[in-house]
């Protein structure tokens, strides 16, 4: 079975200017170690990463947004799939690592290891392009297809548990401001109002 790090190493090898959001958990730590950059926001709360990435993708429809989830986070945020199925932003790709475990919570099993298929749930919610992959080659093909498609890409990758990479010291508030500054610089939008006289009547 393929590890999360192997999937991420492939993703990083083709990474350009995507805006990335990761859930809390190992993928945040691993992506931060493999590709530290201001265009990534790490450790969105469990169950909220897909929704937050969807909001960002809807706000910036010309920019590629990628959300990294785990099976525990997807299961917690199932209702977001119904909204994703209706909105289908073409610039959003969700990558969910399914290792069947709450790896950051004592390695106890999630219910995906007991028969729940989050690809079937996603498709039933209207995320019609949802696919399951096993191995880097299949992941690479699915990623290419997701980026080229006119709908939201939703890739569930069967993943070997385990993590070798270290924690980074970046704090969430500093991460947010770096992320915002990066978006302001690359998209020409003003995200935060400068302190001073209000522009609101």
């Amino acid at each position: 079975m393929t590890t999360r790090q192997e999937y991420l190493e492939h993703f990083v090898s083709r990474l350009t200017d995507e805006l990335i959001l990761t859930s809390v958990g190992a993928s945040a730590r691993e992506l931060q170690a493999l590709a530290p950059r201001d265009g990534s926001l790490y450790r969105v709360h469990l169950g909220g990463t897909t929704s937050m990435a969807m909001g960002l993708a809807l706000a910036l429809p010309q920019r590629r947004v990628v959300a990294f989830e785990g099976d525990g986070g997807v299961l917690m945020g199932l209702s977001s799939l119904t909204v994703l199925g209706r909105q289908q932003p073409a610039n959003l790709t969700v990558i969910a690592f399914d290792n069947g475990l709450y790896e950051g919570g004592g390695r106890l099993p999630t219910i995906t290891s007991q028969g729940t298929d989050i690809v079937a749930v996603a498709r039933g919610a209207g995320v019609t392009d949802a696919v399951r992959v096993r191995g880097v080659e299949a992941f690479a093909a699915a990623l290419s297809e997701a980026y080229a498609s006119g709908g939201t890409g939703y890739i569930v990758a069967d993943t070997e548990p385990g993590s070798q990479l270290p924690y980074a010291s970046l704090d969430g508030t500093e991460n947010k401001y770096r992320f915002i500054n990066h978006i302001e610089a690359t998209e020409g939008v003003q995200v935060l109002q400068a302190p001073g006289r209000s522009s609101i009547r």
Binding site: G47, L58, V83, Y177
Partner: protein, 167 residues
């Protein structure tokens, strides 16, 4: 459907505040306003199915430069509490909450509004979210503008509760 006074004032307030992104779930005070928002090209409207998702979608939209509002019944505030609390991991992300304050003092429609309604204000205070409660449709426009000004200056959420007498 004829626009009610609260609907007209809500739209006017949102536009005066520069709000251009609306995530919502229905509540009785929003019955006529949400379809109008959905059809108005000045708003990007996202119908959500859980207020927690609405919090996260608004936060993401804000990072992309939108000025979002989450419109929901106050019971939805409880659904969104976890997501709102977790936004502090990023030092807060600014957007407005406009909440239909069912179970307000004097509510006569049903006992089921009170268990969550009476928790709305303590929940906002627990989360450190500034708020105001309005009781007339005529107060709604200015309350939304004031709420947005609070959001922008504090760089964190603020809430407008539409209390009894508004709808």
């Amino acid at each position: 459907m004829t626009m009610t006074n609260v609907a007209t004032e809500t739209i006017a307030g949102l536009k005066a505040a520069g709000i251009n992104f609306v995530a919502s779930l229905p509540s009785s005070a929003f019955t006529t306003v949400l379809p109008v928002i959905a059809d108005d090209p000045e708003f990007l409207h996202v119908q959500v199915t859980n207020e927690s998702d609405g919090v996260s979608i608004c936060a993401g939209a804000r990072l992309g430069g939108k000025r979002p509002v989450l419109m929901a019944e106050n019971s939805g505030l409880l659904m969104g509490t976890y997501a709102l609390a977790c936004m502090e991991n990023f030092g807060g992300i600014p957007f407005l909450l406009v909440l239909d304050h069912r179970g307000d003092f004097g509510e006569g429609d049903g006992y089921w509004y009170f268990p969550t309604g009476r928790l709305a204000v303590p929940t906002l205070e627990m989360l450190g979210i500034p708020y105001t409660v309005v009781h007339s449709a005529d107060e709604v426009r200015q309350a939304i503008v004031d709420g947005s000004r609070t959001v922008e200056a504090s760089r964190r959420p603020a809430a407008v509760l539409l209390g009894l007498g508004v709808a």
